[in-house]
């Protein structure tokens, strides 16, 4: 069925009207594609921040009805499922049986298809790589209505274009992914506080290789001496002996957590430089150096238990600016970025900083060996556009790039500079989507489709 919906990404940034469809089987999808002349893009749970799953005035195909498991091999941990299955559903079904996700982004409300299309990453990227590393194969429904199975040994160029390809090569019908065997649902976390950006880089250099999961909450408001100070969280999967005694008899079970909800959009003055500074000071102050055993939900998904937390940014919404810089230029590049942001007084609370490992699974994959910094920027109109242009320039100068799953504002020229393999991607896309039917607002903006 078709419904007109006003859709946006998670940032509630510039919502657009689209024709939304809920087709619940491959047959229904093929019927629709066969009859339609128009452009379309698939959408999972809309957790990308900008416009990758929007197609203004044209079609958005919701994949959430296609959320069936198809097979699971207990001996290998290989799971085959439809692309509309959420990471949360995988955890709910398989963690009790001793299996967890091989890597996970900061929310479990992401579809398997979306995870592939964005080639998502988690706190263990520096050790295990991105989501794409754990995808064995996928079935892709092309705009020609053909279904192709893609893997590292079959239709490889299409596989590499689809991983991180933001849905522009076709609709992912199902995928086979490798789950990870775990002993418990807990993580042992060492918290370390750093004084400034320099200290943060030193902490990662010294400690990250001893831990499977590493991430840091960075203070992006403090200027001067404390700029770039962090609360680092370095974790390893907890053995049964390490988890709290009350939970030892059921190591894969979880304490129940009270879910909260932000019921409406907050007024725009709630998040301002003063309130954010106060919050950052409090957060940094509360976390001293320590070790804690933390359940997986609190460690991997701290914000998921506050439903609709994005409403805190109000009706005007926000963008998330997530950057990558290679090891040679990271410290100097992020110093420039932080200087620019703290100078602009753009309130961004709790930015996330992380070290990353080598290897890009997809042609347009985001991370490689280096460092990533993600921060929220409220939508304050033109000053925001000016700021992101300047930040983009710093990134490009330093051999860095933006994460397409978060991007809402970058230009065609900046994108081409950040992703020199753009032409390679477009060659594959155009070969398998000759009529250019797979189109999103982001693709138009970045010049990934003709006639934008």
């Amino acid at each position: 069925m078709t419904v007109k919906e006003t859709l946006s990404g998670w940032g509630n940034f510039e919502p657009r009207q689209c024709c939304a469809h809920y087709l619940s089987s491959p047959t229904a999808l093929q019927d629709w594609i066969g009859r339609s002349q128009d452009t379309y893009i698939a959408r999972g749970f809309g957790r990308s921040y900008g416009d990758p799953s929007l197609n203004s005035g044209s079609n958005v195909l919701h994949q959430s009805p296609r959320n069936h498991f198809m097979a699971f091999d207990e001996s290998t941990g290989l799971l085959t499922c439809e692309a509309g299955v959420s990471l949360g559903e995988i955890i709910a079904a398989f963690l009790p049986r001793g299996w967890f996700l091989p890597t996970t982004p900061g929310t479990k409300f992401v579809s398997v298809g979306g995870a592939i299309a964005a080639d998502v990453h988690g706190k263990n990227h520096h050790v295990d790589g991105s989501w794409g590393a754990f995808v064995h194969l996928l079935d892709l429904l092309l705009s020609t209505n053909e279904v192709l199975t893609c893997s590292r040994t079959q239709n490889e160029s299409l596989f590499r274009a689809t991983l991180g390809g933001m849905g522009l090569t076709g609709i992912i019908l199902q995928a086979t992914i490798q789950l990870k065997k775990v002993q418990s649902a807990w993580v042992k976390v060492d918290y370390k506080r750093t004084r400034d950006l320099n200290d943060t880089f030193a902490a990662f250099a010294q400690h990250a290789h001893n831990y499977r999961h590493t991430v840091a909450w960075m203070d992006c408001v403090s200027k001067g001496a404390g700029m770039g100070r962090c609360v680092c969280m370095f974790g390893n999967d907890a053995d049964i002996a390490e988890i709290p005694s009350a939970f030892r008899s059921a190591p894969l079970a979880l304490p129940s957590k009270l879910e909260k909800m932000v019921p409406l959009d907050f007024p725009s003055w709630i998040l301002n430089p003063l309130s954010v500074k106060a919050f950052n000071r409090l957060y940094y102050g509360v976390h001293g150096d320590s070790t804690k055993i933390v359940d997986y939900n609190s460690f991997f998904y701290p914000l998921d238990s506050v439903h609709h937390w994005n409403r805190i940014y109000g009706k005007r919404g926000f963008i998330q600016y997530q950057a990558f810089l290679p090891p040679e230029t990271a410290e100097k590049g992020y110093e420039k970025i932080l200087e620019r942001i703290t100078q602009a007084g753009c309130a961004s609370f709790l930015a996330v900083f992380k070290s990353c490992g080598p290897g890009r699974e997809g042609i347009l994959s985001f991370l490689d060996e280096g460092y990533t910094l993600a921060l929220d920027l409220p939508n304050i109109g033109h000053p925001l556009h000016r700021l992101t242009r300047e930040l983009d320039a710093i990134l490009i100068d330093n051999g860095g790039r933006l994460y397409l799953a978060k991007d809402a504002l970058t230009t065609r020229e900046n994108f081409a500079a950040m992703y020199p393999r753009k032409a390679e991607f477009m060659a594959v896309k155009n070969a398998f989507d000759p009529n250019g039917k797979l189109v999103s607002d982001q693709a138009r903006r970045l010049g990934l489709v003709e006639g934008a």
Partner: protein
Amino acid sequence: MNETTVILGATSGIARALARELAAQGDNIVLAGRDMESMQTMATDLTVRYQVKVGIVPFQALDFENHPESWKQMGHTAAGEPTKVVLCYGFMADQQECETNPEKARRTLDINLTSAVSILELVAGDFAQRQSGTITVVSSVAGDRGRATNYIYGASKAGLTAYTSGLRNRLYKEGVHVLTVKPGFVDTSMTKGLVDPDSPLVATPEQAARDISKAMDAKRNTIYTRWFWWIIMMIICCIPEPVFKRLKI
């Protein structure tokens, strides 16, 4: 001993959510409906996700002559002998269309009411003989009072509600429990485009399924899902007819 639940109309929005809810609690499931391909996908999902046994049986609401055969097949699948049956299908066409097209009106009544009587009498007979079982029927708040914008659908559901209540009365002394479920708005294909899924009045299929499952366990007689619809319907039913007939409702 695990229960086995038959879901009639297995591919409806509420049925899909209910199948998962019950399988999560360990029920083996028999899926009965028209769309074999979709039911196969559902069956695989239920076995992988919940490790329960699932059977699939073709069932056409309007194929009255084959109801006895269908019911017999539902009793002989890998999922085991049914201990619970949920009737979870319905047909709602545009009211205006039903007024001008007698075929549509007749179809509404045949699917929602006549077919229910046909299949459930078979179930009732078997369960009564066994002196055990639970029958759940998904009716609708629309059956509580006929109103201009939806009275043909409403009439079929009013009939279904009365039928189910009579069945409950008959089967009580046979040790068989009957539950009537009256959903208000649920976000499924039946209501797509008609209601705003973000409205607090609209339930998700998962919420409806949880309400139904809890009510089955607690052996409730009639429930509204979500619960606050009983207040809304009580008010609607209290409006005196001389006033009600003037309303645009």
